[in-house]
């Protein structure tokens, strides 16, 4: 390998994995933690994959399951491949730096392509391994299966890699074209994320039903027909599966070899004719801005603060995704989780704990959404001085941010409530109580997160003026939210279960008889929520001005 290419490749790898330089005990601990977490995820994937294949095998659809799975992996690899190609080859800030060095464009390209290929190879291996091991076990093919899989895996890596290179430029042009159409992007992302959650929950629901009774297939005859027909037409993805199980090899091999040749030729043509041109063009396009012709408009101070805050979030795809898009997905998750819990057993625990389950899911989503407020001050970045020189009190400025977060959380919780009431999963009284509890927790969480950020702001922003990494406050906020969600959710489930007993348990405390019925559950959960709320409000309010004035950006 040419010396420059080797140096550039090493630079790229070092840059990508700079977080894992083994210099002190902390870095070893971090690496160990990452490895343990990766191992746990792989094992979890293996376990779920085993269940997935068993479920399809019970319906006589094992081969179709493999085709569906390979198709999903193919699409995933293509998506990550295109995204990495755009990032590494075209968008990355280092292109501008590297272009100044005495290295040729071809050397930069080859080093980056090698990096991309290695990444694609490793990711494919890690993603596919647990699924293939699970398939070999469920199908009973064992060793014979492992012998057959390296070739289709190689085909998969190369074909998705070449296709990514071909698709990267048109997709990048499309992205550039729509990058400032914020409403369109947010709506599109909201639909995608909501649909993904819905599909995930339907699949999860089937798996839970299957786990309850493994003797019966969860698929109806009509569903079996649809799956069989779909698997037949999933071309070229079905060919990878065909080679793995030795099915119609005379079609699968020539087809994949042909696709490999065509995509390779396509990649060479794209690189030869378009790479340098696109690179130069894109370096200029990266800072593109949009034009929005308006008139001068007067707004009351509070509204103008909220308006500015909204535009700052709305005009950033990253922030919008973290904030608005997840709020859209929340009702879908709440509906499905509640449905599954109720279906777990009509006369069993499921029905009795469904209120607690709804609460848990709503609180978890509320945590994820409100954790965004843990960067409310940090997101000001270099503009932090504005908040200090503006002739508006700090409390008013923070209140405007808080009200914007509140509006989104009220809207998300209200839609959840409407869904739960509309589908008759909850009664009105229960629903309203649930709404109030979740809303109070959201408010408390928002205030606590904002205060944490004021105590330790993190002004490290990227070129687009966005927080690059989540700060410590975000991590703390999520941890706190999950702890509260689990505590309140589990208490609600447990006490609901006790309260639904035919003869509720009771204790005699002196002359007072304590009955563990549903009223007791409402009381305990309300008190816990109240304590969290009051603590958060006091923590936020006490010493707020002093803490804010101490920030010296």
């Amino acid at each position: 390998m040419n010396g420059n290419i080797r140096t550039l490749l090493r630079l790229e790898i070092k840059n990508r994995f700079s977080n894992y330089s083994l210099s002190d005990y902390k870095s070893y601990f971090k690496l160990f933690g990452t490895l343990v977490l990766t191992g746990a995820i792989i094992y979890a994937l293996y376990w779920v994959a085993g269940l997935f294949f068993e479920m399809f095998e019970a319906g006589g659809l094992l081969y179709e399951a493999l085709v569906l799975l390979v198709s999903l992996i193919f699409l995933f690899m293509l998506f990550t491949g295109v995204s990495s190609t755009i990032k590494v080859l075209y968008y990355k800030g280092d292109n501008e730096i590297l272009m100044r060095y005495p290295v040729s464009g071809a050397e930069v390209f080859i080093s980056k392509t090698l990096f991309l290929f290695l990444t694609q190879f490793v990711v494919t291996a890690i993603v596919m391994a647990p699924f293939l091991v699970a398939y070999a076990e469920v199908s009973g093919l064992g060793l014979a299966f492992y012998v057959k899989i390296p070739v289709p895996i190689l085909f998969l890596v190369f074909i998705t890699f070449f296709l990514s290179n071909i698709l990267a430029i048109p997709i990048m042009h499309l992205t550039n074209r729509i990058r400032n159409k914020f409403a369109l992007i947010i709506i599109g992302l909201a639909i995608l994320v909501t649909a993904a959650f819905a599909v995930y929950m339907v699949l999860f629901n089937s798996m839970v039903t299957f786990m309850n009774d493994k003797e019966f297939s969860v698929f109806s005859d009509e569903m079996v027909n649809i799956i069989e027909t779909t698997a037949k037409w999933l071309i070229p993805m079905k060919y990878f599966a065909d080679i793995m199980v030795g099915h119609e090899l005379y079609i699968a091999y020539p087809a994949l070899l042909g696709i490999l040749g065509i995509t390779l030729a396509g990649t060479i043509l794209v690189i030869y004719f378009l790479y340098a041109k696109t690179l130069l063009n894109n370096v200029e396009v990266e800072g593109s801005a949009f034009k929005h012709v308006t008139k001068n408009r007067c707004r009351p101070i509070f509204l103008t603060l909220m308006h500015k805050e909204f535009l700052q979030v709305f005009r950033s795809v990253n922030y919008s995704f973290q904030y608005f898009v997840l709020a859209c997905a929340m009702p879908v998750m709440v509906f499905f989780c509640n449905n599954i819990t109720r279906e777990l057993g009509q006369n069993q625990v499921g029905e009795q704990i469904s209120l607690g389950m709804s609460m848990l899911v709503m609180l978890i989503f509320a945590t994820v959404i409100t954790s965004f407020s843990a960067t409310s001050t940090s997101r000001e970045g270099d503009n932090f001085y504005h908040t200090k020189v503006a002739p508006v009190s700090i409390r008013t400025q923070l209140l405007a941010k808080f009200v914007m977060y509140l509006l989104v959380s009220v809207a998300a919780n209200a839609v959840c409530l409407a869904v739960l009431l509309g589908t008759e999963q909850l009664e009105i009284k229960e629903g309203l109580w649930l709404f109030v509890v979740v809303q109070l927790c959201s408010v408390a969480q928002t205030l606590a997160s904002m205060r944490m950020d004021i105590a330790r702001p993190y002004f490290n922003l990227s070129g687009e003026g966005e927080v690059v990494n989540n700060n410590a406050s975000t991590t703390m906020s999520v941890a706190m939210g999950f702890a509260v969600a689990l505590s309140i959710g589990i208490v609600c489930m447990f006490l609901s279960y006790l309260g639904s007993m035919t003869t509720p348990i009771s204790f005699l405390i002196g002359t007072f008889e304590l009955v563990l019925d549903m009223n007791f559950m409402y009381l305990v959960v309300s008190v816990l929520t109240g304590i969290f709320f009051v603590t958060a409000v006091l923590t936020y309010t006490i010493g707020l001005k002093k803490a804010y004035n101490k920030i010296a950006k």
Binding site: K291, K388, E464
Partner: protein, 251 residues
């Protein structure tokens, strides 16, 4: 207009004062230059008087309002242009100026009139409805200035306003400073550019190691030369002084 008396400011975890016993008094209608080398304490003083930094002791009043006790009224009388031209880059120029105008409660009539005047004066008409992130360094500085002037502040504070600007942009800003003072307002700006301060200021102060060294009235004949001499004397390092003495000895 601006009264600073016995200002002391020490940063957290710092052993020495960044600003020490600094007192200044600015009159209406004057351009006041604040000279000093990098790290002399110019920006710290400005950040204290604009309310960005709290200070240890002393008093700062703007148009009679104490910045520590009555910050809202003090800030309503002041416009500030920072040294790093930081603005909300996701907003368009117009949105940003309107945001500032709302905070300073500028009426629609005044807003329209001043906006059109400044946008045309600073030649930003074509860019004003485009997102600020596409602006050049100079354009960002100009939109900061328009936002700072939209409420016609009695005290206009600028921190190193000419840094990195071309001659044309500098001339436009200097003209605006002159016009602002002619209307009876005060301009207070920091710089390490001696020539610029000598050319446009009515008075200038020199600061070193956080301490005020001298305040010179530039209307008095010969004081422009005095300013230059004093600035060199004050800011010269010990080595510079040794070199100068050696040269003098050698004739």
């Amino acid at each position: 207009m601006l009264e600073i008396s016995h200002l002391y400011k020490k940063y957290l975890n710092s052993e020495r004062f960044s600003v020490e016993d600094l007192s200044l008094s600015l009159q209406p209608g004057e351009i006041f230059g604040f000279l000093g080398q990098n790290g002399a304490g110019k920006s710290t003083t400005i950040k204290c008087l604009t309310g960005i930094y709290p200070f240890n002791s002393g008093k700062i009043t703007i148009c009679g309002y104490d910045i520590a006790k009555d910050p809202i009224n003090a800030k309503l009388n002041m416009g500030y242009v920072p040294d790093n031209h930081s603005v909300y880059e996701k907003l368009t120029g117009r949105e940003y100026v309107n945001y500032t105008a709302d905070l300073y409660k500028v009426s629609k009539r005044d807003r329209n009139e001043r906006f059109d005047k400044y946008v045309s004066q600073f030649k930003l008409t074509k860019a004003v409805d485009t997102q600020i992130k596409s602006y050049s360094h100079g354009m960002k500085q100009k939109i900061c200035i328009i936002a700072a002037l939209i409420h016609n502040p009695k005290l206009w504070v600028l921190d190193e306003p000419m840094m990195g600007l071309d001659h044309q942009s500098m001339a436009e800003i200097l003209k605006r400073m002159d016009d602002h003072c002619a209307e009876g307002n005060t301009v207070f700006f920091s710089s390490h550019n001696l020539d610029l301060v000598a050319k446009i200021c009515d008075r200038a102060a020199i600061i070193k190691d956080g301490k005020l060294q001298d305040v010179i009235d530039l209307h008095i004949k010969g004081n422009k030369e005095t300013l230059e001499r004093r600035f060199v004397e004050i800011t010269a390092t010990e080595q510079d002084k040794i070199n100068e003495r050696t040269l003098l000895r050698r004739g």
